[in-house]
């Protein structure tokens, strides 16, 4: 299971790097989504993969019964997903607004903050 997860993480990272190297900002964004999934999987895997029940305490007991999965990485991943979702939504809105104003998603054509030297004056 660990090996399979490692391969999945590696593939996701490779694909995301390929996408993020593109000039097109939308492709960069998709790469970012893939990368954040790879990172989330990394956190999940580093909590050890065990076969077990959800970490819930049944009614009337003091501790969960039997083998339970590590709940902490799940909480971390959930937090990371939520934050990632918020950031992605913001970035998407930013890209949309950028496209509307600059008429381009090509990062090479976005030279408004740093104009080319010869075009300056």
């Amino acid at each position: 299971m660990e090996a399979l997860t490692a391969i999945v993480i590696g593939t996701l990272t490779a694909a995301s790097v390929y996408l993020m190297l593109a000039r097109n900002f939308m492709r960069f964004l998709f790469g970012l989504v893939l990368l954040s999934n790879a990172v989330n999987l990394t956190i999940f895997a580093s909590g050890r993969m065990t076969k077990g029940h959800p970490a819930l305490v049944p009614y009337g007991e003091d501790a969960p019964l039997g083998v339970v999965g590590n709940a902490l990485p799940q909480a971390l991943v959930l937090t990371a997903i939520v934050i990632g979702f918020g950031l992605l939504a913001f970035t998407l809105a930013l890209a949309f607004e950028g496209y509307r104003r600059m008429r381009s998603v090509d990062t090479d054509k976005m030279r408004f903050a740093e104009p080319k030297e010869d075009a300056q004056k």
Binding site: V82, G86, A93
Partner: protein, 140 residues
């Protein structure tokens, strides 16, 4: 979207989903559920409504702007966390007021800051998601 069936079904669906979201919020107190998932479901119910009747109508149905809801939720959650200041515990320590007893087994019900915090989370998620989706829907 201009479909009679969807608009008609949406009215029923929205109400059901919204009640379900409140159920999830309250259930989260002792069982899986809680403010976050409840807020998501509540947000989805309003999104369905805005798909059926348009974002302008959905905004009207919400009455308060979603940004204000989110900020109010943040304030409620923070104040719930800071309540433990009065009794001298660190931030976010849960405080219970047992009604009709003195513990979980004997009390008829309990008032506690944990639920208030969860309500804050519910409002933050509801407001946050809705302000995003409304903004996107109004753009297109």
């Amino acid at each position: 979207m201009n479909s009679v069936i969807f608009t008609a079904a949406a009215r029923l669906l929205v109400a059901l989903m919204f009640v379900f979201s409140l159920f999830m919020l309250l259930r989260g107190h002792h069982l899986p559920g809680g403010g976050f998932i409840g807020g998501l479901i509540g947000a989805v119910s309003f999104i369905v409504y805005s798909l059926a009747c348009g974002p302008a109508e959905a905004r009207k149905a919400l009455r308060i702007s979603p940004e204000v809801i989110a900020m109010l939720g943040l304030g409620i959650a923070l104040l719930a966390g800071m309540f433990s200041f009065i009794v001298g515990y660190p931030l976010f320590t849960g405080q219970w007021l047992w009604v009709g007893g003195d513990s979980y087994e004997t009390a008829a019900f309990s008032l506690n800051t944990v639920l208030v915090f969860d309500i804050g989370v519910y409002l933050v998620v509801l407001g946050g998601i809705l302000s995003l989706t409304y903004a996107f829907e109004e753009e297109t």
